[in-house]
């Protein structure tokens, strides 16, 4: 239904070789334009007239890594409450003004980032109304006392509910043990007792410090001209609070001194298991190598080693996987699964030996070929919609990746060898120094003994 189809009604044969065009593809359709606004915000823009849609986001370093243990949850609450009253509009005014033009505004929030994402129809009338709301929410959030009190109560009750679930427990315990005193140990949503103490002034202060234009990233994708995009970026960042010029950074996450295994009692029918340690930064030179390697280990769905060993061969779990979560500082490397509680020990042994064998021997050349075939052949699907490209723009901008990141993606994957993967995993994942958390054990137990003994 794209309007492009009327422009190039060429006859295409279905048997054209898939990978030939991939390298040119990114270049051809993704000329990323990049500039700074008058207030210093970085802008990333791709013009695309295929659909009458505009996607816009503004992100700042305001994720939960900027929380303190005493005020864990402050960053999340600040991000969540901006849209509940701003620039003379109350929360219903904001919701209605967006709904009336069919616009969708959502929050972006993780360990590193806090931001807002807007999707709107691109015709000027609707677009302008939606952008005006977004600009107001970004630049003049009210954080009214009574709203803060109401939302605190809602957040606390949701946290208490989450605290009972095995998946929430395993996550919380894992991050605490893997990151210790580093802020990545803090749950992004905060804790019931810390959130309960937050005040409107805390949110205002956090907002003023973090939602400043100097480190803001604006990503714009879709049906506007460069000139219009420039005006939009100005509109959204012009009135952000002036920063004191201090650059917000997250300290580096230290490596684990030794293995730790923690068993947590829980009556659920399944044990929830997480194994891992601090992994890599988003700008790590090993990124692509580990990306390909992890596809083989546990990232490639049905064809990964962990899924093969745990699910396909033994029927031990519905889902079993591994991933790197690269962040501003070293984010976690994680292996996760859920299995019936009486077979948790068996599943754990299978996963540990799978990991150790992978680290000891590395992938086979055939596995590397297959992984690269999938990732390279699947590249067009990474950028086949406005939304996906928009997500890339925001990520490239926030993590300071090169503007030709997408154009060079395929070449960066192609370069990876089996030897590189083995070496990179040896550098980044030490099987003798991993955190293991099992929630759904018979009774609580913590062992500092190296988990790696079992293989």
């Amino acid at each position: 239904m794209a309007t492009e189809m009327t422009m190039k009604p060429m006859i295409r044969t279905l048997c054209a070789f898939a990978l030939l065009s991939v390298a040119q593809l990114a270049h051809a359709i993704l000329p990323i334009e990049h500039w700074r606004t008058s207030t210093g915000a970085k802008v990333y823009f791709v013009e695309n007239r295929g659909l009458p849609i505009l996607d816009v986001s503004v992100d700042v370093p305001a994720g939960s890594a900027f929380d303190t243990p005493a005020q864990s949850g402050l960053a999340a609450m600040t991000n969540g409450l901006m849209r509940l009253g701003a620039a003379g509009m109350n929360e219903d005014d904001i919701a209605r003004a967006l709904a009336d033009v069919g616009a969708q505004m959502s929050n972006r929030f993780d360990s590193d980032r806090g931001g807002l994402i807007l999707r709107t129809l691109s015709d000027p009338k609707r677009r302008n109304q939606a952008l005006e709301v977004m600009a107001g929410v970004l630049s003049a959030p009210a954080f009214t006392e009574s709203i803060v009190e109401r939302e605190k109560s809602r957040y606390v009750s949701a946290l208490k509910e989450a605290d009972l679930t095995p998946d929430s427990r395993v996550n919380r315990e894992f991050y605490r043990l893997a990151f210790g005193k580093h802020p990545y140990s803090l749950r992004s949503s905060g804790e019931a007792d810390t959130v309960g103490k937050l005040q409107s002034d805390d949110l205002k202060a956090f907002y003023r410090k973090h939602y400043a234009p100097a480190q803001a990233v604006v990503a714009i994708m879709g049906d506007v001209t460069r000139k219009e995009a420039e005006a939009i970026a100005e509109q959204l960042t012009r009135a952000l609070p002036k920063s004191d010029g201090q650059r917000l950074v997250i300290p580096e996450a230290p490596s684990l001194p030794a293995a730790v295994t923690r068993m947590v009692e829980h009556p659920a029918s399944q044990s929830h298991i997480m194994i891992g340690a601090p992994g890599i930064r988003r700008d790590d030179p090993d990124y692509f190598t580990l990306f390909v390697g992890n596809y083989i280990l546990g990232g490639g769905g049905f064809v990964s080693r962990i899924t093969e060993e745990v699910r396909q061969k033994r029927g031990l779990a519905y889902s079993a996987y591994s991933y790197f979560s690269p962040l501003l500082a070293r984010g976690p490397f994680v292996i996760g699964m859920q299995t019936r509680r009486d077979q948790a020990g068996q599943a754990l042994a299978v996963v540990r030996s799978t990991l150790r064998e992978f680290i000891d021997k590395g992938p086979t050349p055939e596995e590397v070929v297959a992984a690269k075939q999938n990732i390279v052949g699947g590249f067009p699907m990474r950028i086949d919609s406005n939304r996906k490209i928009h997500d890339y723009l925001a990520m490239i901008g926030f993590y300071g990746l090169p503007v030709d990141y997408l154009e060079t993606f395929v070449a960066n994957i192609e370069r990876v060898t089996a030897g590189d993967i083995k070496a990179a995993f040896a550098r980044r994942v030490d099987p003798d120094r991993l955190v293991t958390v099992v929630v759904g054990a018979g009774h609580d137990q913590t062992a500092a003994a190296p988990a790696a003994a079992s293989r």
Partner: protein
């Protein structure tokens, strides 16, 4: 995957098919359809924004077609469809798709089972070859079945047994319905899974998997005539089957309010209310389903809609509250109201609050402005949907699989635009009544005193 048993998700499907107003942009206009001689319907929608295709095969077969004692078999069969044919041994399907750069999975719902790949357009022949092969040549080995049934039981534990809201929804449906198979969970009851055999699964496959019970949907950078030729080449020679007679299994009228309590380890109480309603069967003639769809959005279609605005923000009675209309499908329709009481409030107070909002609609009606807002969101939503080939394919396949037409997408928005405030009030008055209502309370239990759901010793199985 089974379809998510989350009520709020269900409605998303129900109202998602609302196209843009402009006739020139109507999404079904450039769709091409061909029925092969063996009954296979092929639907193709060109979208040339990227050299990619979403390729799907839908079977008009879901948990609604299961008999007692074998609940879950449709979904187990979906898992087994990845376990090999003579030509493509177990695991090979996924390896071939992966090697072509593709992504794949499958989903099972009450009404249908679907398989999909997203691929570079040059790999469409591979998709068709593999799908045609497993439509007719599935091996179903006992060894693979023995492992996969364990995986499905893990899926059930993960998806339902350890999730309070899923358990509540499952028990609500089993209470609300007496005869119709929608009362059974898509994933199946645990005891049925424990006793399911490979013969049950094979019988289901042999009865229901055939080209005349399937729909192929392709969205992407393709030429319809070429896709039809490719479909003919791969699927054309598969013989059609005489399908078993589908009995209606109509639900008898409800004879009064039903209530149930679900005691599970949890922190918060929850309330889930299900009203029996009509479903959409004749999209041109009917108006009530559209009015119910409107009512759902007026109640919870945006952050300033009635339930969040009044119950969460103004009254501070709820931590969350929502409405959801499930009106497209082969079985009975339902209109759901759900609420989580705010701290210090009870489930009974929550129920009263939800009922108060229903009463307000019945007594005071809704405003034209509220309806306009819903329409604006629906129109925009239809445009946004065009950003995803996968979603476009899913939308068309879904409508066909439940017995409607992909073309009805165009009709939906026209009919929605015609709904009046009085009609919304009328359906509320007619259907949101106690005699067709089932109310579930989730009664939270502390973890420590929860019945110990310890696992059985290896080799011995029992339900929980």
């Amino acid at each position: 995957m089974t379809a998510l048993p989350k009520i709020l998700f269900v409605l998303m499907l129900t109202c998602a098919g609302l196209p843009v107003a402009s006739a020139a942009n109507a999404p079904a206009d450039d769709v091409a359809v061909k029925d092969l001689a063996n009954g296979l319907r092929v639907i193709v929608k060109p979208d040339r924004r990227a050299p990619v295709v979403a390729s799907m095969v839908w079977y008009r077969i879901g948990s609604v077609d299961e008999q007692g004692g074998i609940t879950g078999v449709a979904h187990v069969l979906e898992h087994m469809m990845f376990k090999g044919t003579k030509a493509v041994p177990a695991g090979e399907f996924s390896r071939l798709i992966a090697a072509a750069g593709g992504r794949e999975n499958a989903f099972t719902s009450r009404d249908y089972t679907g398989y999909f790949q997203t691929l570079h357009k040059s790999a469409l022949p591979l998709s068709f070859r593999l799908e045609a092969d497993r439509m007719v040549n599935l091996v179903l080995s006992p060894e693979e079945f023995a492992k996969e049934i364990k995986v499905v039981m893990e899926e059930r534990r993960w998806r339902t047994d350890d999730r309070p809201q899923s358990v509540m929804y499952e028990r609500l449906m089993a209470t609300a319905l007496t005869a119709h198979p929608y009362r059974n969970p898509v994933i199946g009851w645990m005891n049925d899974l424990e006793n399911l055999t490979i013969e049950d699964t094979r019988r289901f496959y042999e009865q229901w998997y055939s080209p005349n019970n399937a729909i192929v949907v392709v969205v992407g950078d393709v030429v319809p005539a070429e896709v039809f030729a490719l479909a003919e080449q791969h699927f054309g020679l598969i013989p059609s089957k005489t399908l078993p007679l589908r009995k209606p299994q109509d639900e008898p009228p409800q004879l009064g309010l039903k209530r149930l309590t679900v005691k599970v380890p949890a922190e918060q109480a929850q309330v889930l209310m299900a009203y029996r309603t009509p479903r959409l069967t004749k999209p041109k003639e009917e108006w009530e389903p559209y009015a119910l769809d409107m009512l759902e959005s007026v109640l919870s279609g945006n952050a300033a809609a009635r339930l969040p605005q009044r119950l969460v923000k103004t009254d501070r009675l709820a931590a969350a509250a929502g409405a959801s209309y499930e009106g497209v499908g082969r079985g009975p329709g339902f209109f759901y109201l759900s609420g989580t009481p705010a701290q210090g409030k009870t489930a009974a107070e929550m129920e009263q609050g939800l009922r108060r909002e229903v009463q307000r609609v019945i007594e005071e009606g809704v405003t034209q402005q509220e309806l306009e807002r819903v329409k604006a969101q629906a129109i925009a939503g239809q445009v946004y949907q065009r950003d995803s080939m996968f979603f476009q394919a899913r939308q068309m396949g879904w409508l066909e699989a439940v017995g409607l037409s992909y073309r009805d997408e165009n009709l939906f928005i026209e009919k929605l635009q015609q709904v009046t405030p009085e009609q919304v009030r009328e359906v509320a008055r007619k259907y949101l009544v106690d005699d067709g209502l089932t109310v579930a309370y989730l009664d939270p239990q502390p973890l420590s005193t929860a019945p110990a759901r310890t696992a059985p010793p290896a080799g011995i199985r029992h339900g929980n």
